[in-house]
Amino acid sequence: MNAMDHDRLKENLSAFVDGELSADERRELKAHVAGCPGCARELQELQGVSSAVRAHGEEHAPAALGASILREAGRERGSADRYRASLVRAAAVLAAAAVLLVFLGNRFKPKLVDLVGGFVSGWSPATAAVGATKAP
C-alpha cells in the first residue's frame, strides 16, 4: 500500500467511528486496522475522544431563557395583531370613502346632465358655478 492510500484510510477512521462508511469501505478499513498498530491506536483514541465529548459536553439553557423567548414572541404576536387591525381599519375607511364617492357621483349625475343641457340651451355664469361646486 502506498502512502496516499494509507492517508485515505486514516482519514476514514473518524467516519468509521460515526458509522458513516459504506459496507465496502468498512470492510476494507477493518481489515487494515487489524494489521496496522498505528491505525488501531488512532482508532482507539478517536473513540475515546468521542465518548469523552458525549459524557462531558452536554449543556443546559438557563432557566429564564425559555420564558424570555416566549414572552418576546407573545409581544411580537400582539404587535402583529395590532398592525393587522390597523390595516383592516384603514381598508374600512377607504371602502367607506369609495362608497360615498359612488353615491355622490350617482346623486349629482342629473345635475351634470342639466349642466350639459344648459350649455346647449344657453350658457349662464350662475348654472356653471352651481355645476362646478356640486359636481364630485
Binding site: D18, V49, G57, P62, S68
Partner: protein, 181 residues
Amino acid sequence: MSKLTPDDLVRGHLDGVYALALRLTGNASDAWDLTQESMLRAIRFLPGFRGECAASTWLYRITVNTWKNRSASAPSRWWSRLVPLEAAVDGAGAAAPDAVDPAPGPETAAHDSDQREEVQIALAALPPEDRAALQLRELEDKSYEEIATILEVPVGTVKSRLHRARRKLCEALRQYERYGS
C-alpha cells in the same frame, strides 16, 4: 402531522439550540442572545415549516444562519469570541484545585468534574464551526448528511472537519494527561 407551536419549540429544543449557540459563540452571554434571536425567527417562520426535516435540524440551521449573519454584520464580535476563550483557560488554571464541591464527595465525582473541565477547555480551543460539527455529531446524534444541511457545507467537509476536530481534541487531552493533575 400536528402543527408545532412556539411552546413545543421551546420545550423540546431550547437546550439543543442553546448548546449549539454556545459552541458557535464561545460564551454564555452571546449564546443567550443568539438563542433568543434564532428561536424568535423560527417562531416567525413556523407557519412555513412543513416538516421536510426534523424540527431540530430546521432549528439548528436557522441558528447557524443567524450566527453567520450576526458575525457578518458585527465584525467586532470576532473579539468577543477570543476574549472568553482566554478567560476560560485562565479561570480553569486558577480554579482547578478548588473546583470540586467542598463537601466530601466520592473520588469519581472529582475525577468526572476534572474531565468535564478538560473537555470543555479543549473544545474551546477549536474553531467555532468544528465545535458546532462535534456538538451536532456527539450530542445531537446528527448524521453527516444532516450536519451538512445545518452548516450548509458539503458532506465531505463535515467528514474532514470532524476528523480534524477529534485529532486536535486528542492532542489537547493528551497534554492534560501528561502535565495535568
